[in-house]
């Protein structure tokens, strides 16, 4: 399976997946069904995570296709710009959905304002992703184009110009202060995230047993904020120097582990088993195993991140 194939597979998730998730969310209002609402929110979170490799495989494909004579670069660039815009909203939707789930876990119900925010963000995301998908189709499916020449010559912006891939790349590489600043922020985000992850998972492994899991669960948003900051700075690095990352096996490992570790955060947020670990309780063996693997995965993310300049060169 090569990069373009992975992209063609994964791009169904932020497109078809979000339509299904929005439909479920709206259905949950109509049916006044809490379970449906939870499922739709959890789906948004998972889709947001999968959007990461979906986007990255697309960027990898673009790098490979840049020189091909049978691909119109202008059409690819428009698809890319739409994808950047759509992905931003996808991640925002996932973050808002996560927040709803976190509130719901703690308060028994989510707040109307937050649910409303998810609804608005998700509808924007569906529209943005639909547009991205159509533009993507134009790259290799000339049969759908009513006017192929117009498509190739189209200059109307697909997204705010400051959020286009080229604009972000120019910002990152054009000013000397950007890269060092993003690195400093990335490291701070790293320890904010890792500190909470360590506390939460070590509790599961038996440290600080007098604290309930619910007590440390309260700190999870700080980990997610750290993650959000690092996703943002990370995207800026990738857009600034795509070849440095997308042709680097260490980056592939980092993203893979990040995906799994992110799913674990979702698990800790919504599942009953972790929440049931009360003050003084020993966690069940499965929860301990998950906590230990989560720690290994986060350390792995840091390891491959740190190794990017070294492993990449070796290949």
């Amino acid at each position: 399976m090569n990069t373009p194939h992975v992209h063609l597979l994964l791009n169904h998730v932020p497109t078809v997946g979000t339509i299904i998730a929005v439909a479920l969310l709206i259905l949950s209002f109509i049916r006044k069904n809490d379970g449906l609402r939870r499922v739709s929110l959890e789906l948004f979170c998972v889709i947001a995570l999968v959007t990461l490799p979906a986007y990255l495989s697309g960027l990898g494909t673009a790098l490979q296709f840049e020189q091909r004579p049978d691909v119109v670069k202008a059409i690819m660039d428009r698809h890319h710009d739409a994808a950047v815009f759509g992905s931003i909203f996808m991640v925002l939707t996932g973050g808002a959905a996560w927040l709803c789930l976190w509130q719901q876990r703690r308060l028994g119900r989510s707040k109307a304002g937050m649910i409303g925010t998810v609804l608005v963000l998700s509808v924007v995301t569906v529209a943005a992703m639909a547009r991205t998908a159509n533009l993507g189709g134009e790259i290799r499916h000339p049969e759908i184009l009513l006017d192929p020449d117009a498509a190739a010559a189209a200059t109307a912006e697909v997204a705010p110009s400051f959020l286009s891939a080229a604009a972000i790349a120019k910002f990152v590489t054009g000013h000397t202060w950007v890269w060092p600043t993003m690195e400093a922020v990335h490291f701070i985000g790293l320890w904010l995230l890792f500190g909470v992850v360590v506390l939460v998972n070590l509790r599961m492994l038996g440290m600080m047993k007098s604290a309930s899991f619910a007590a440390v669960h309260r700190l999870l948003p700080w980990a997610v904020l750290g993650l959000g900051v690092n996703l943002t700075t990370g995207m800026m690095f990738v857009l600034g120097a795509p070849g440095q990352y997308l042709e680097n096996i260490a980056f592939f490992w980092k993203m893979g582990l990040l995906l799994l570790a992110g799913l674990d955060v979702l698990y800790l947020t919504v599942f009953d088993a972790p929440w049931a670990v009360g003050a003084g309780d020993e966690a069940p063996p499965l929860e301990k195993a998950m906590a230990a693997s989560a720690l290994v995965m986060w350390v792995g993310v840091m390891y491959f991140g740190r190794m990017l300049p070294f492993i990449g060169n070796a290949f």
């Binding site: 927040l99 309260r218 700080w222 904020l225």
Partner: protein, 31 residues
């Protein structure tokens, strides 16, 4: 502006933003 000053100011700005968001989120769990 020197590089160190620019970097430090932006870092502090991002930290402030994260602090405000974290505070608001934590408060939303109270009821």
């Amino acid at each position: 502006m020197s590089l160190a000053l620019t970097v430090s100011l932006i870092v502090l700005g991002v930290v402030a933003l994260v602090a405000v968001l974290g505070y608001l989120i934590d408060r939303s769990a109270e009821q």
